[in-house]
């Protein structure tokens, strides 16, 4: 029987981060990772396989990095866990005795309740190299592709399939349609104006963006031929990609008697502990609460998963690190725009009856604006709590520095900074990298809000 101090089930973001953290925080402990997938794809990189990288092989996380750290790896399913004897049985018959177990089984693509999903060439986005390769082959031989779902994954897939089509031999012969139920793509994460920008970018790439549109059924006999809409219209399709969200993989946890909810995931506390003192859960499979109000949330992002994996691994032998709750920080790129956000949208704040003021800044991201690569209308939109003045959300549209600017906001949210703090701080600027020091977006948007805030903290 194999023995390990720490057994990690799952080899994507949370699992890998947990493994690395155990090796960093408890270097004397042995770590074994068991995952089902033959290799781990870079999860956020999946859409870029199709239009940019052009091969699944180029989007795999090298196992070497983890093996070098002394992490033992098994490519197997875990069949069962005996919590009493603290052993796990793998599908190949291997039994592993563990001292601590981290469940990081991730999530699976959610599928809408419509008929025809089992038709050939209809795909979710499974994090398995062979499956992702199958999608590539299907896309390569398709003339009409429909993407269902206009969240991140759907928007990124639609963009990349459009690029793939453009690069093909008969450019323009492939029609990509993106179908979103809500009034805008990315609406749950982004401000309305940024959603519209993203849709314009998609359209300029030739994507047929259909918002306020519901899918009724997938058509086809054996292989998909079309997508029938609630309106009655049918969009022809040789391949369909569904990206409407994910559901947590809780089967193993349920099987061994741990509390888990099909939507919320495996129940954990702020230390990522399950009910079993020797079992932790982290990442997409684990339950989450909001940073803002402590309420359960379904925000499932790689950044949350990594943070949770690190926290779970740090707490194995004593509760030293507490999860501060999911903030929701992300970035994406659509056409020539990058969009990112951290924290609440105005809609989310409205829905939660949180009073806020908005500060905005639109300014070139170079100074002078005539420098190469300048985006003249880079924008930051920040939300501050009306009573405390603390930042609760921030949205940025700009160039490739967008995600890092969002992380100023993310750090400010998690650090409890106010509009007044952010307005009077000093920021690094440079002609070739940022706005002018007169117009640095975070500062200017904070100053804009600070001027509106009454009762904000004075010096």
């Amino acid at each position: 029987m194999e023995k390990t101090d720490v057994l990690i089930v799952g080899g994507s973001a949370a699992g890998l981060m947990a493994g690395l953290t155990v090796k960093r925080r408890h270097p004397q402990k042995t770590v074994t990772m068991v995952r089902k997938a033959s290799r781990t794809p870079v999860p956020c990189g999946i859409p870029y396989i199709y239009g940019t990288l052009k091969a699944v092989e180029k989007n795999l996380i090298p196992d070497d990095n983890f093996i070098k750290q002394g992490i033992r790896m098994h490519t197997q399913a875990v069949e069962s866990v005996d919590r009493g004897n603290k052993t796990a049985d793998l599908a190949d018959g291997t039994r592993i005795a563990y001292d601590k177990l981290i469940i990081a089984t991730g999530s699976s693509p959610a599928m809408p309740p419509i008929p025809g999903l089992q038709t050939g060439n209809v795909f979710g986005i499974k994090k398995e190299p062979e499956y992702l390769d199958m999608i590539q082959k299907a896309l390569e031989s398709s003339r009409n592709v429909v993407v269902i779902g206009g969240g991140f994954i759907g928007v990124e897939m639609a963009e990349q399939i459009a690029l793939m089509a453009q690069a093909g031999n008969d450019a323009g012969a492939v029609q990509v349609s993106l179908i979103e139920m809500l009034p805008n793509c990315l609406m749950l994460a982004c401000e309305q104006e940024f959603c519209s920008d993203a849709e314009s970018e998609l359209r300029s790439l030739g994507v047929n963006v259909m918002t306020n549109t519901q899918v009724k059924a997938i058509q086809g006999n054996g292989k998909v031929t079309g997508v029938q809409l609630a309106s009655g219209e049918t969009i022809p399709a040789d391949a369909v990609v569904v990206g409407i969200g994910v559901t947590p993989n809780i089967e193993l946890a349920q099987q061994i008697g741990l509390e888990a909810d099909p939507r919320m995931g495996i129940k954990v506390d702020a230390y990522m502990r399950t009910e079993d003192p020797d079992i932790f859960a982290a990442g997409d499979c684990a339950s989450k609460f909001s940073f803002f109000d402590g309420q359960p949330t379904c925000i499932r992002l790689a950044s949350v998963a990594c943070s949770e994996g690190m926290i779970a691994a740090s707490n194995l032998y004593a509760p030293v690190r507490k999860c501060m709750g999911a903030v929701g920080a992300f970035g994406t790129t659509v056409g020539k725009n990058s969009i990112g956000a951290a924290g609440l949208t105005t809609k989310a704040a409205d829905d939660a009856s949180i009073p806020y003021v908005v500060g905005e800044a639109v300014f070139p991201n170079r100074h002078p604006g005539g420098l190469p690569g300048c985006i003249l209308d880079m924008k930051a939109k920040l939300l501050f709590h009306s009573e405390t003045g603390k930042i609760i959300g921030g949205h940025v549209r700009g160039g490739e520095a967008t995600a890092d600017m969002v992380n100023i906001v993310a750090a400010a949210i998690q650090g409890g900074l106010t509009a007044e703090d952010l307005a009077t701080m000093q920021y690094a600027t440079h002609p070739l990298m940022t706005a002018s020091p007169l117009g640095y977006h975070v500062m200017l948007a904070a100053e804009n809000a600070s001027a509106k805030l009454t009762g904000s903290r004075a010096a």
Copy 2:
């Protein structure tokens, strides 16, 4: 006699920011700005006139932006100020009555105590369009250019003159030499390894980088012919650019009896007030104290100037905003590297006997690393106070997002965040914009330090 509520003397970073802030915070007040320069060059953009923009005209801040806000502008020198009657006399005889006066007269290029500085074609970097144009003409007709001083301005000028030479008709015919007294360029602001990277980049552009090198004299009769070093060697030169720092412009303040030090500037308190309750000073001409220990400092950056201009203008009628002291946040680009920092270097911390631990992270700035534009060895190096765990400095080398990543550090320093805070936060990541969520530089470097810190804040 003209009348104005607020008179601002000086029209660069601090003055412009002060003007905009008065109009934002006190919209009913009239604002008049008096500056000597015919137009205001983008101060940080000056080096980029030569190799990138190719015309002074392209590096001017449009006055329109300020005139549209209702700011009246005079292009004149201020001859005298009568503090008792609260009036200012301009060189053209105009007398302006003011209620509040903001002195933002900036700084002038410092010149080293060596003979021959008055020789033709020896230039400081004056923020005057006509003078900058004269430099361009001189550089265009020079085959040997020597830059004295390897700080930001010197390094940026050397890089841009090298690019200018490359773009010329007889590429390679122009030799640019950069002379620095200290063991490394950028040494007062950057970590040693980043200084070396910058020097390598300069060398790969053909710049003759000479560190540990002192200048003894400028040679030439009428027009410069060479730069004589302390070693006795002479470097041939048709043009010399001196960039060894700046000295505050305190003449007006001294003339009207305000306390001012030739090195430290016009004495102000944390509200940017001089001894005269109706006179404020901000920017390069004003005295500064360090964010870290409250001691006087000579950090003169546009970011500091803008922050001070905003604070001075906010405090005209009541002290509502306090300067938190100069942090020192900046970015620069040398060849294909961008470098930036906020707060203390390890050397500065050592010199001040501040105990610290260093956290480092080297990781690709894209995920997967095969994506276009990836810098495989983007690096963050963060310094945390050993006792409090608070971040006191951060250094980044990477791509165009470097400055924004530095601003995560800048916000964290000014917000008092710890290694533990920064390690467990969630950060936005995206394949085309950042490192993977497993390797986001700020998080990973903070975690690296957090693991070393004893007595750091636990949850």
